[in-house]
């Protein structure tokens, strides 16, 4: 990771968005004191993330973690609650996770979705002020996911600070007030969902020209990620109609024209490209 810097304030609901392998988990691990950064620092409540006083105010749901299979949901929630100074009644944490009917079941006998909800119950068992969720909805079915997102929303309304990672733009958009976009270890954007979406909805445009064009032919036009291979031109644009109108006006002859909505992966590429351009003088 390089040059990632941000502050999350009390009561915020923040999504960290990025494709797989972007560095989201690394970022969360540094914030939780599970990994030491080679340079730079992370602080929780102004303390080292490894400080027990700071950890006593944080709940965590990691992407990869496990609990002993032979303990029941109730026992585990009670156990994790005991690590914290102001735990909530175990029944409440189990209720928030929607696991009332599984509370006497051993963890090893839960389904994948129920297991995720158990980890949610463990994260909130200590009634923390800040909660970190790393890819919380991975492996959940549609209904579990809906319930889960609702739990996060309810938690946020109680004034809790929440930071969660996801690779679904839709999920970040539905839930968060602020989205931090990370790609390949670089902070690409830190803005409201509306702003991110307006930047992300770039269309991918591709066409063939009779004579090869050069980068100079696109000077001043609303394009990003421009690639030219012989006669084939590929680019991203937020305003493809205006772009094509301008190209036609300049007398560029176009064939095999395709304009498609960019998927998230491509949108990240376009965002990264914008970020690189902003950084360059």
């Amino acid at each position: 990771m390089r040059g990632v810097s941000f502050v999350v304030n009390q009561g915020e609901l923040v999504a960290m968005l990025g494709p797989n392998g972007a560095g989201k988990t690394t970022c969360i691990s540094v914030l939780l004191g599970l990994r030491k950064p080679t340079a730079g620092q992370a602080r929780l409540f102004g303390l080292q993330p490894t400080d027990r006083r700071a950890r006593s105010r944080c709940g965590v749901m990691l992407q990869e973690s496990g609990v002993p299979d032979t303990l029941t949901v109730g026992e585990l929630v009670e156990l994790f609650g005991s690590y914290y100074p102001h735990r909530m009644p175990p029944e409440r944490a189990i209720g928030l996770a929607g696991l009332e009917s599984q509370s006497k079941q051993q963890a090893g006998k839960l389904s994948g979705g129920q297991r995720q909800r158990l980890y949610f119950a463990l994260a909130v068992a200590g009634d923390p002020e800040v909660i970190f969720f790393d890819e919380p909805t991975v492996g959940m079915d549609v209904e579990s996911r809906r319930l889960f997102l609702q739990s996060i929303r309810d938690f946020s309304k109680q004034g809790k600070t929440i930071l969660f990672t996801t690779h679904y733009l839709e999920e970040a958009d539905q839930l968060a007030e602020r989205i931090i976009v990370i790609d390949r270890g670089v902070l690409v954007a830190d803005a409201s969902p509306q702003e991110i979406k307006s930047r992300v909805v770039a269309k991918q445009v591709s066409f063939v020209t009779p004579a090869p064009l050069t980068q100079a032919d696109f000077a001043g036009l609303p394009v990003s990620n421009l690639t030219i291979e012989d006669h084939r031109v590929r680019l991203f644009s937020n305003a493809p109609e205006a772009l094509l109108r301008e190209l036609f006006r300049r007398g560029v002859d176009v064939s095999d024209l395709q304009v498609v909505g960019a998927d998230l992966e491509e949108a990240f590429i376009s965002l990264t490209h914008q970020a690189e351009k902003q950084m360059a003088p």
Partner: protein, 264 residues
């Protein structure tokens, strides 16, 4: 985050954490059938088997072989609990990344480790009581209460090298490799130390190898209770303390390697 809130930041009391963690570790082990059978059932089964075959012999003037077998399998049993509890238990915790999740909570690592040790000691005590009851009721082998108490503190105190060995295996191997490694290291040590077969019946080279192993000195410590020891309690304890230092140093080294791999 807001710096105004750094004053008065409470943490949970260590005592309650330790109690909850110890109870959870103990209950989780007890419900693990493979572990329970291995560590409670095997010593009892071996004792009954060998007692039926050799129990009526005389190990030494005035001491029946039955008593020797009982004390030997009590030693095996307690060592067993330690090696498997830590060897397989820690490897499994690492495999399922429980250590990672707990590391992100306010639970201090030393409390988790202490809970592990206390839980194992209780389990070892349980194995000793079970063997005692079976030996008395079914095997008809009687030790007086004083001998049992003497044996208990010796087996508990002398089990630290076994804890060290178990932890080294737990931090140094994967969940799949740990059971095999534990058996491949621990079982030959028992054979070479005179716990399964009297050492004097083995070739002298093997006797020499055997007499430096921690299991040999552990057995010597235990056999003192029935007067069948070849070295004094003090010498045995010194050897066991030395082995503890070596094995815990190895554990710390392997633990650091594991942490480096995971957290940097």
């Amino acid at each position: 985050m807001s710096t105004a809130t750094t004053q008065a930041m409470p943490v949970a009391p260590i005592g309650r954490m330790l109690w909850m963690e110890t109870r959870a570790k103990f209950v989780a082990r007890l419900r693990n059938l493979a572990f329970t059978v291995l560590s409670l059932g095997l010593p009892v089964m071996f004792f009954l088997l060998f007692n039926a075959i050799f129990g009526s012999l005389q190990a030494a003037p005035g001491v029946s072989t039955a008593k020797l077998i009982l004390v030997s399998y009590a030693t095996y049993g307690v060592g067993n609990v330690m090696v498997y509890n830590f060897g397989i238990g820690l490897a499994n915790d690492r495999g399922r990344k429980l250590d990672l999740l707990q590391r992100a909570t306010p639970l201090p690592p030393f409390v988790a480790t202490l809970a592990y040790v206390i839980g194992a000691l209780i389990f070892a005590l349980l194995s000793l009581i079970l063997l005692g009851v079976v030996a008395t009721v079914i095997g008809g082998v009687r030790l007086d209460v004083g001998t049992w108490l003497d044996l208990t503190w010796r087996l508990m105190l002398g089990s630290f090298p076994a804890i060290g060995l178990g932890m080294a295996i737990g931090y140094g191997s994967s969940p799949n490799a740990a059971p095999a490694l534990a058996n491949m290291v621990y079982l030959p040590m028992l054979f070479l130390s005179g716990i399964f077969v009297p050492l004097k019946q083995l070739p002298s080279t093997i006797q020499h190898i055997g007499s430096v192993l921690p299991t040999y000195h552990y057995a010597q410590l235990a056999w003192k209770t029935i007067g069948l020891n070849d070295e004094s309690t003090l010498v045995a304890l010194a050897w066991l303390a030395g082995w503890s230092i070596v094995l815990f140093a190895l554990t710390i080294r392997l633990y650091r390697l594991d942490q480096d791999k995971k957290f940097s």
